[in-house]
Structures are given as C-alpha cells and as structure tokens.
Assembly symmetry: C2
Homo-oligomer: 310 residues x 2
C-alpha cells in the first residue's frame, strides 16, 4: 500500500454494545459503524473506548467477521490488536490483516512494568515477523495514563529502521502535546503517520504534519471533527476547535466510555446501549440527564443517527 | 472443601520454560513442578513470575492439561486465572476448577484504571456466577506495583459477605506489611487465608494468623522457605527469616523473572531455561555469574534438582 493510500483523517474507537447478558451485540455494532462511515469517520474498532480489553480474542475475531460480512469496508478499519500476550497479539493481528483492514492499532504489552526498550522492540519485531504479511500496517498506541507502558521515540526509531513498511504510524494518547510534537518532528517526514488520541490537539496536529485523530468523542460528534480535519486551514479553524473542545468536555464530565454509550442510548432512543462490561459501571440517570442537557445547550445533535422504530 | 483442607503453606509462582521459538515447554515445566512438589512447595502456576500474562488462555489450558496428565496433583495447584477480560477469566477459571485445582489466584481486570469498587465487585461476582461451581476457591491477587488496579478491604468485605464459599483468601504482593496486617485483622478470623507475596513477610504473616506465602523465590529456594513456614514458632525463626531474605535479595539484584530462570539454568545445567518471552529480556552472562557467585557465598544450593544427563 503506497503511503498516499493509507488511512487518514478521523477515526472513532468504536464503542462496543453489549446485550443484557454482557455478550457483544453485533447488530448494534454494525448499525453504529455504518452511521460513523456515513459521517466520514473511520473505524478504530477494539480500542480502549471499545472496552476491547474486556473482550477475548475470539470475541473480537467474531465481531470483525460480522462487520466485514455486513459489507463494512475493511479499508476503513484500524482494529486494536495489541494485548499483553505475544500469542494473542499475533493471532488477532493476523486476522485483521487477512480481513483486509487498513491497519492495526497496537498497544504495547502492558502487564509487566519497567520493561526495557529492547524488550518492547523484540515484542513488536516478533509480531511483525510472525504475522509475516506485506500488507501489515502497525500504528503504535501510546497511552501511558492507561497502559502505563509507553512508546518511546527510541523504540519508534528502531522499529522504523528495521520495518519501514510495517510500522506506519502511531496514536498518541499521552495527552501531552509536546510528546506528539516531538514524534511529528522526528518521524513525520519519513511517512510516519501521527494521530492524536483526541480532537483537542487536532488543529495543532494538522498544522504540524499530522495524519488526523482517533478520538472517543468521534463516536458521537464525528461530522464536526471531520470538518475541522478537512478545513484546518480555514479562517474559522480555531472556532471549530473550540466548539469541538466544548462537546468533548461536556461528554467527558463523567467516565468517558459510559458517557458515550449514554449519549448514543439517548439519541438513538435505545437504552440497551447503556450497558458496559465490568469492571466499568453505567452512569446513573442524573448524570445522563446532565450531560444531555449540557449538550443541548451547545446545540449538539447526532444527524442521521438511526432510531429503531422511526 | 472444609476450611481445614484448604491449600496452605508455601507456593511458587512457577516459572514457565520456553523453547527457542518462544513456545511454552511442557516437559521442562513438568520436571520443575515435580521438583517443587518434592520440596513441599505448592504450584501457583500462571502467576506474574510465570510470565502468565505473556501467554494466551489456550496456552495456559494446554499447559494445565499437560501437568495433570503427567500425574501432578491438582490439589497442590493454584493457577492464576485472572485477566483483563471477563470472558477469558471465566474460561480459564472454569478449566482450573474442573481440573480439580485447589483454588485459583485471580488478578483484578487491570487494563482500565481508576475503576470503582462497585465495578470490581461486579467483575468478580460475574466470574463466580458464571463459573457456577461449588468447588471454586478464589484467592484475590493484590499486586498494585504491577497491576496498578488493587484489591481493597471494602471489596473483600463485600465479596466475602455474598460469596463466603468462593472467596477463600488473597495474595498480598503490595510489599506493604501494614496492608497485609490490615487484611489479616479484618478477615482472617472468617477463614480468609492471607498469603504474603514474598517470604520477606512470612514470619510476620504466620505470627498474625496468615496462611503462608506465594513467592517467586520459592522457585529456587523452596525447602528453606517451607522450613520457616513449619518452624515459625522455633527459637531460630528470626535467623531463618534473615537467611531467606539474603537469598531473595541476591536473586533479586537483577530483574526477578530472568534471574530465577538463570539460576535454574545454572543449577540444572540447562541453558534453555534462560529464555523469556518479550517484552522481558534475558540477563547477560556477567549478571548471571554475579548472582551465582553471591548465592554460593551464602551456601545456597538446589538439592535434588534434576540435571539432564546426570
């Protein structure tokens, strides 16, 4: 895949709907993915905000199969495939590549702490070698507030040098713009695509050669985020950025994953969307009402969202 | 299982040997487990020091099957079965219970951080309900330096109240004796078995009603640790404790898992034992030589360890 054909722009770490028995709900996931695509938003299924780390490898493989069987274009997908275990990461990555996915978003192995850069290099190198497929495009996932184990510039440099085709970019969810900027300055010119972990830094990222953003809030506000991605050189870009930030702050006043699901449940008139898997917990109705009220004050809506029975 | 028949004493989080291709090596694992049992040491296979979080659920199920097929008594086993994913934890826990294991050592789901006590309660409750087997004995695994997510007294209290048969005890690897003491004071009288996460606190634990310890170092020094467990009321107990601490400090001068494997490799004259899975890395020969030299200064040995070809 030539660099210019790579997946870029806005992607949502797609929230995963669960049935009352806590099993994943493929039908609701397909519906939500189709809506996101209609808003020009790519699909980073199985991300942190997808509760992907609460799913088994097999549950993820089955969901991915259901999505592609439903006609969802894998070239718009960047599934999360990293886990603590080398075997699990290889299995799910291979499945994503053979399914034709544009790339994979890969956490470092995150159980063991204080591991060396050399150990992390060996881990990613083993994944590349074992998957052994020229189509593989890895986006390294740096999210130290959650994974604790991070992706350093030294690691990126060494991986890029030895696997220039397989190492395609990164998602920086450090929340630290100076880290994103450093990665851009060091690697963007080599065709390394840097996505910010949320839209707060989208304008700054585009001004500095970034590739877009992969943001939780894109689950509910995809069109507006995509608009700034396309119009970052317009005169109103700063205003657009401020409006995006307001929506994000409003949704993020409660635990983000539960809040996103509550917002979708409200606008889709479908309370089953509220369900989260333990160890997460649902919001209470007062929290939901407050978020919805605050969003309405901002003029927020979810255009074209399918509402069952309407 | 009546309380007095529960597994107690010294257990090793059994180190997992790997072949050159990084696949688990069942034969070497069986040999090491048999040696540990011969030293009166129980088998906490699939613990942190087993690199269990670098293995898939299926790899662990296959290893457990190989161990029981080799005649290793499951009533001496407490496999680690906790993972980030509810589905994975249920699957491996069910397999351990139906295999007849004495109990399971269960990490909390450790990817998502800052989760609520209520969310963790729901997670463990779901595991108990879904496994649905009266033989289930869960030992909660508190290891905040690695898992970050911990086990609080409030969580223990609520679980014990609602699942008094299934919640059998805990392993406290906080390294904070005041936390262990608090758990003992609150719950030991209810038959909640508290194991310390290493032998440094073994004497203190036994003096306060604890059940034993589950320690990395038991992989190489099981007999001496077991002796203090049995002789904690003897007049030389403090001296025994000091001697155990010296061995632990010596092995722990380098990364513990790689060091344990190096010590076994040295005394078993079997260099394949050195291999670790990424993201861990092997020690270099200078580090190994230093550890072995320091151990010899302490008069350390591994009695009865099988040496291939001897």
């Amino acid at each position: 895949m030539a660099s210019e054909q790579r997946i870029r722009g806005i992607l949502a770490p797609v929230i995963t709907p669960f049935k009352a028995d806590l099993s994943p709900d493929p039908e609701r996931l397909i519906t939500h993915c189709k809506w996101l695509l209609s808003q020009n938003c790519g699909l980073a299924v199985f991300g942190t905000n997808s509760e992907a780390n609460s799913l088994s490898v097999n549950e993820k493989k089955v969901l991915l199969d259901r999505l592609t069987a439903a006609g969802i274009d894998p070239s718009r997908m960047m599934p999360g495939t990293g886990s603590c275990s080398l075997s699990d990461s290889v299995e799910l990555t291979r499945h994503a590549v053979t399914s034709g996915c544009a790339g994979v978003l890969m956490l470092p192995p995150f159980y063991y702490k204080n591991v060396s850069e050399d150990g992390l290099y060996r881990y990613f190198a083993e994944v590349v070698e074992r998957v052994g497929d020229a189509r593989l495009k890895i986006y390294l996932y740096h999210i130290p507030p959650v994974a604790v184990v991070g992706i350093t510039a030294g690691l990126v440099e060494r991986l890029l040098k030895n696997y220039p085709s397989a190492i395609a970019g990164m998602k920086d969810s450090s929340g630290d713009w100076s880290n994103t900027k450093m990665m851009l300055d060091n690697f963007a010119e080599q065709g390394f695509d840097v996505f910010t972990g949320n839209e707060t830094f989208l304008l700054a990222n585009m001004q500095n050669g970034g590739a877009g953003c992969i943001s939780a809030t894109a689950n509910v506000n995809p069109a507006a985020i995509d608009r700034l991605y396309r119009e970052w050189q317009h005169s109103d870009a700063t205003t657009q950025q401020q409006n995006l930030n307001s929506v994000r702050q409003t949704v993020g006043q409660a635990m983000m994953i539960a809040a996103l699901k509550s917002v979708v449940a409200h606008y889709a008139e479908d309370s089953e969307w509220m369900t989260v898997r333990p160890p997460l917990t649902e919001l209470d109705q007062d929290q939901v009402n407050k978020i919805v009220y605050d969003l309405e004050q901002l003029g927020f809506s979810m255009p074209d969202l399918p509402v069952p029975g309407h």
